[in-house]
């Protein structure tokens, strides 16, 4: 598919999609949204990129290996953060009790572990959804 309109429109809106996706991921502890919702929006940007510029372009941007790394890494990051609570003597996935700084309520860097967890989930979901799309699209 080689369509000029699609390419130009994609070039204009993809940055906005990505920024919005990041916003939703990073503000998961402050407003509705979070890792999954934001990750899907991020992946939406990748999918649009693949549709407008073709599969090879996406493959060079997000190689299979990197996607697999992000997918596993996202959950490993989550588990690792959970284990911090275990090591500091409280419970798995403990937040303030495990020593995560809570910050000032309402600011971006607050919520302790929640902020970090959302980050991992966001990356994982973005990688997973784009991999799903890629695997299903392969046939062409």
């Amino acid at each position: 598919m080689d369509d000029l309109v699609l390419k130009v429109v994609a070039r204009v809106i993809i940055p906005f999609i990505q920024v919005y996706g990041l916003y939703v991921v990073l503000h998961g502890h402050l407003s509705p949204g979070g890792g999954f919702a934001g990750g899907v929006i991020l992946a939406g940007g990748f999918i649009l990129y693949a549709l407008a510029y073709g599969r090879p372009a996406l493959d060079s941007l997000l190689p299979d290996r990197l996607a697999a790394l992000l997918e596993s890494g996202g959950v490993l990051w989550y588990t690792g953060l959970g284990l911090v609570g275990l090591l500091t003597g409280s419970a798995f996935l403990a937040n303030a009790r495990a020593g995560f700084p809570l910050g000032v309520p309402g600011r971006l860097f607050s919520g302790g572990i929640v902020f970090l967890l959302n980050l991992g989930i966001g990356l994982k979901v973005a990688a997973t959804i784009s991999t799903l799309f890629r695997n299903l699209q392969e046939e062409e």
Partner: protein, 492 residues
């Protein structure tokens, strides 16, 4: 004091399952898989020891106490089922290390191990879940991983069976979620203990919600546990899956939904529930039909693994029969049968897998005389098959005995007949395989006896499962006492 042992086995398996997709060599994938299972098993043994000594442990994720936080429970039911899981999953994993490279293409191997570990951890999670939210999540992980294991081998029959399985189990999950919604509407709780407390007041006020929830639970878990009208997916899926996956699916996965049912229906919904709707009678009827229909269909099969799959449907019928019979002894028998059948069916599928690996044949007609080429494997098969029939001395005898005694105590001889007559039916389809295997003359007229030319990694798992089940048939006190304790805790 919280003890982290409750969550550690699941975490070990999770981390290993996530590292596996990054490993490129299949040889190392199976090594990681088996060692992760072994590590988790050791942790689980420590947990089991702790639970036996000081009773049930409740773990609060993140330190948040229950109605707000997530509760993970390690009680006797969880420990019992977890031990069953590891006893079957570890030999099966050893078997898979040699068998899978022969069955699946190389790129599929690492995903096989990821799915295998995810499936095992979801079974542990389901047994330990203390609230409906977690239960639903693990329910979905288990059904997705199970479906995916069927289709790891990309053959037409597998893909088709996996699709059928996926559709039906999604309907099942939908029904379970609907039941959760109906319960949440009237109680506002998802934690099992709080829900049970709240339900005592609310059930008389909103009987329709409770009746709806019960019906949807029965249908939802019934699909997944393959009870009579909802069993149609099982023979296709379990017969076409690669042999180690069949052992896991038939031995463990269908049974975890019984554990879930015991926890929700008997442990939470309680007495009010049984007075509101004829749950037990319906279960009894369906279980009886399951037993007879599946046994008769098993006799009609021409494929070895398909026959074993139908036998699973029949054996699930026994478990439901024991749960619903209304006697504490039969309840304990049903719980014990979960353990025994898991070991026996695991042994049967692994032995069948080893025979298929050696001869490449799986039609019953072609397996005549197979005892001449694989005498040891067929002996293990025979031990497990005798256990299925319930010959004294095997573990199947103990659980069937408790079912029978329970039913006679309940003065329902009709149900006792169901167990006895269906045992005859079991014999009718298992014995021909063994007798013809050892004494029949095969097509290739290979009459000379020689020991199995099968690698020990295939032979030992099948053998160890068969011998362990034989051990627990002769000295059943450990699982039996555990099952009786569980019956004491949950029976209503």
């Amino acid at each position: 004091m919280t003890t982290h042992l409750v969550v550690l086995p699941i975490l070990v398996l999770l981390v290993a399952a996530l590292i596996l997709p990054l490993v490129r060599e299949p040889r190392r994938a199976s090594l990681i898989g088996v060692s992760a299972l072994a590590a988790a098993f050791l942790l689980w043994l420590a947990l089991a020891f702790l639970v036996m000594r000081q009773g049930a442990i409740s773990y609060h994720l993140g330190g948040w106490p229950p109605p707000v936080g997530i509760e993970v429970i390690a009680d006797k039911l969880a420990v019992f089922f977890g031990l069953t899981v590891f006893l079957v999953a570890i030999p099966t994993a050893v078997f898979a290390g040699v068998d899978m490279p022969a069955e699946a293409p190389e790129p599929a191997l690492s995903s096989f191990w990821t799915l295998y570990l995810l499936l095992v951890l979801s079974l542990l999670g389901l047994a330990q879940a203390g609230d409906l939210f977690n239960m639903y999540v693990f329910l979905e992980i288990s059904s997705l991983a199970a479906c995916a294991l069927v289709a790891v081998v990309n053959r037409p029959a597998n893909v088709e069976a996996a699709f059928k399985y996926l559709l039906l189990s999604t309907v099942g999950s939908g029904c379970v979620l609907l039941a959760i919604a109906l319960l949440y509407m009237i109680t506002g709780q998802l934690n099992l203990a709080f829900l049970a407390r709240e339900l005592e007041h609310q059930a008389p006020l909103y009987p329709k919600n409770v009746i709806g929830a019960g019906t949807f639970l029965l249908v939802g878990l019934g699909v997944k546990a393959a009870i009579f009208p909802l069993h149609t997916w099982l023979p296709d899926a379990h017969a076409s899956a690669p042999s180690p996956a069949s052992a896991l699916l038939s031995g463990l996965v269908v049974k975890v939904y019984v554990v879930v049912m015991v926890r929700i229906v008997w442990g939470t919904l309680g007495r009010a529930f049984f007075t509101l709707l004829p749950f037990k009678s319906v279960l009894l009827l369906l279980a009886t039909i399951s037993i007879f229909l599946a046994s008769i269909l098993a006799m009609a099969q021409t494929d070895l693994k398909r026959m074993l799959a139908y036998s699973t449907v029949a054996q699930m019928g026994y478990i439901f029969l024991g749960l619903a019979a209304g006697s504490r002894t039969a309840f304990a028998g049903a719980i014990l049968h979960i353990f025994n059948h898991a070991l026996l069916k695991g042994a049967l599928f692994l032995a069948a897998g080893a025979v298929i690996w050696r001869t490449g044949r799986r039609r019953l007609a072609e397996l005549v005389g197979v005892g001449h080429t694989c005498p040891l494997t067929l002996s293990f098969f025979a031990i497990a098959a005798l256990g299925m029939v319930g010959i004294p001395g095997t573990s199947g005898f103990v659980s069937k005995w408790f079912l029978l005694v329970g039913m006679l105590q309940q003065s329902s001889p009709l149900l006792a007949w169901v167990v006895l007559i269906s045992s005859l039916l079991n014999a009718a389809y298992y014995f021909p395989v063994i007798i013809l295997g050892f004494f029949g003359h095969g097509t290739d007229n290979e009459l000379r006896f020689h020991l199995d030319r099968i690698p020990p990694e295939l032979l030992l798992p099948a053998g160890s499962l068969a011998l362990v089940s034989l051990f627990f048939g002769l000295w059943p006190s450990f699982p039996l006492h555990l099952a009786q304790d569980i019956a004491h805790d949950f029976f209503l």
